[in-house]
Subunit: 374 residues, 2 copies
């Protein structure tokens, strides 16, 4: 057993946080003695309510949390007609570029009336995030984390009244300073090698910097951690545990389409890039023909958040759907958020097995390290 | 004492390699029980001979090594008139861009007849590297390392006949496969956070990948390592030791101009970038007005190695000289190769003190880690 400030704070057996959008992964990690965190921004309030209810049925009172994406900066619109006013800000040139790209790769039309891009516009707006938070606080969550920017002031108060731990992901020191001032209980130092929204500083450098700033408050390391050796390294850097995201994309329970998972299994650590072409902010993902196209001459370049995800979300639904039917063009474009650890994926396993293996390998690595100084 | 495959292979007390262009740093690290490696490409054969002689006078038989930059791909010229034929390949547009940039910042003219750019052209050529190797093998070196590309086939044979260990820096798995096939004894897994020529994969991800490939051959971790915690993390990742470069830029013995060192002491980890504008290949350095200028509209973009260093080396001599005289424009442009650990620099210390402190802090960190599983 590895005891740290994190296992004490969250009341878990292992200092492993499993972040994922799939409720099955969250339940699997929590049931294996880690701490599952659901990516709530992927859902409408009604869907989130159903997912959290399901998770609680699986975990028998064991702790879990939620993560929200509340960006500090985003394009704004008319609050009374948010979706339409945002949609009006998307240039025709961009819409045409995406349509031409899908046509070039022969990606079939999607089912009409995709709501997903509208939901994203709402979820990424402060009001939309607040609605998701209301749902989260109506459940038995132990932690609420924010992946982008400083939590709204009332969030920290509200969480603390409810006995809920507040965490924040940070990519550089100045972000951590602001987060600590806002009263968060826990920081996640996320290195550039991580999947999804990430900065440029590597976990090896960032973690001790944030640990130094955080004083008594625990810091988790995120980015580049998918094995016992990497978890032991994170603890050596001063982290009180690890926040793993990409690792669970190699789990059975993860809901990412199988064609994406197959690309992950075949990928090397050098096959990712940081690109703003999916969300409007730099996010690490698997490099595909999609990214090559956005880098070609004539590309209009990405829009800011949330316009870029509104622009491309239907395209990704079409790509995912066609790739599932083995469409060659769609498979060339297919991609998803993933960190550099993708190169270590060798197969799909249950999330609970991944959790237990990570911890056991870390424990044996720590024992080996101890023998170096005998 | 930390014993690893590296301390056994090189016959040193501590698994710490100190890479630097300053003979004082090399001697300081070796004398403190680490292993100093001199960056030989900075010198002519005659200068290198003098430097190695001086080092051997300082270290009383203790082991040290040299590092050469032998690129696999480079612009080539007429072997009978190498410098002139290379210089003829530099477009007038580029020369004008550099001159205008220096004028914009008011950097004074340099002393006429700078030879340095010509020497670089020679040193970065295979024949030039061979002349430096001849000098190195005439001294009592224990290791020869190559920072770019696969060592020439005869280098491995020659080194092994002389009982000299051959090492190579690698930034991704496919490079390591080639290096291992070429017969190197030791690999250095260099993460993107490192200073100088570096790839995109972080140390946290790259190190275990290379350790896995290398089998019985020791692997050092490089990039992001400047403290005992980071050294302990490198050992946790499976490295047999650490290859530190940037760290020594915070030593008294390092010959980097003081204005650069002052910028380093004031810098944050977020103040570096990977840029090809100094050597023609992506190399991490401190971001300055120089890099901003090369990113502006109208920039001609960098030339390949060795044309880019030939183009800019005199400019850097002028910038360094003016910055030493407290020239504001030169200080705005001033920069040098450095990794993301620059954010941890708090002052200048002797290289031997840095070495001893690194090892002592690593030992105490390993002891703390052991208590996590009590």
């Amino acid at each position: 057993m590895i005891r740290t400030a994190l296992t004490d704070l969250l009341g878990v057996d292992h200092p492993v946080v499993g972040f994922n959008r799939s409720p099955g992964v969250v339940a699997g990690v929590t049931n294996a003695g880690g701490f599952g965190v659901l990516a709530a921004t992927a859902y409408t309030p009604e869907e989130l309510d159903a997912q959290l209810t399901w998770i609680e049925e699986q975990v028998d009172g064991k702790p879990y949390g939620v993560d929200l994406l509340v960006p500090e900066k985003f394009a704004t619109g008319d609050p009374d007609d948010l979706v339409a006013s945002l949609r009006a800000q998307i240039p025709a040139e961009h819409i045409e570029f995406v349509e031409k790209l899908l046509a070039e790769y022969g990606v079939p039309e999607g089912a009409p009336g995709s709501r997903h891009s509208d939901e994203l516009a709402v979820a990424l707006n402060p009001d939309g995030a607040a609605a998701l938070l209301d749902v989260a606080f109506s459940h038995r969550i132990s932690l609420v984390a924010n992946a982008l920017g400083t939590p709204p002031p009332n969030l920290v108060e509200r969480a603390h009244r409810a006995g809920v731990v507040v965490g924040s992901l940070v990519g550089q020191q100045k972000h951590a300073v602001r987060q600590l001032e806002s009263g968060v209980d826990l920081l996640v130092a996320q290195g550039t090698e991580a999947g999804g929204h990430t900065g440029t500083i590597a976990t090896m450098v960032l973690t001790p910097e944030i640990v130094e700033l955080a004083g008594d408050r625990p810091v988790l390391a995120a980015g580049g951690i998918a094995s016992g050796r990497q978890m032991a390294a994170a603890l050596a850097l001063g982290a009180a545990g690890v926040w793993c995201g990409s690792l669970w994309l190699s789990s059975h329970e993860d809901i990412t389409p199988l064609p994406v998972k197959e690309k992950f299994l075949a990928a090397a650590s050098s096959d990712t890039l940081r690109s703003p072409t999916r969300t409007g902010k730099p996010a690490r993902q698997l490099r595909s023909a999609w990214h090559d196209a956005w880098e070609r001459p004539g590309s209009p370049g990405p829009l800011p958040m949330p316009l870029q995800p509104m622009l491309v979300s239907e395209a990704w639904e079409r790509i995912d759907a066609a790739a599932e039917k083995d469409h060659a063009g769609a498979k060339a474009l297919e991609s998803f958020f993933i960190g550099q650890v993708v190169g270590s994926f060798t197969g799909l396993r249950p999330a609970a097995d991944i959790t237990r293996r990570l911890v056991a390998d870390c424990e044996s690595r720590l024992a080996q390290l101890n023998s170096l100084t005998d």
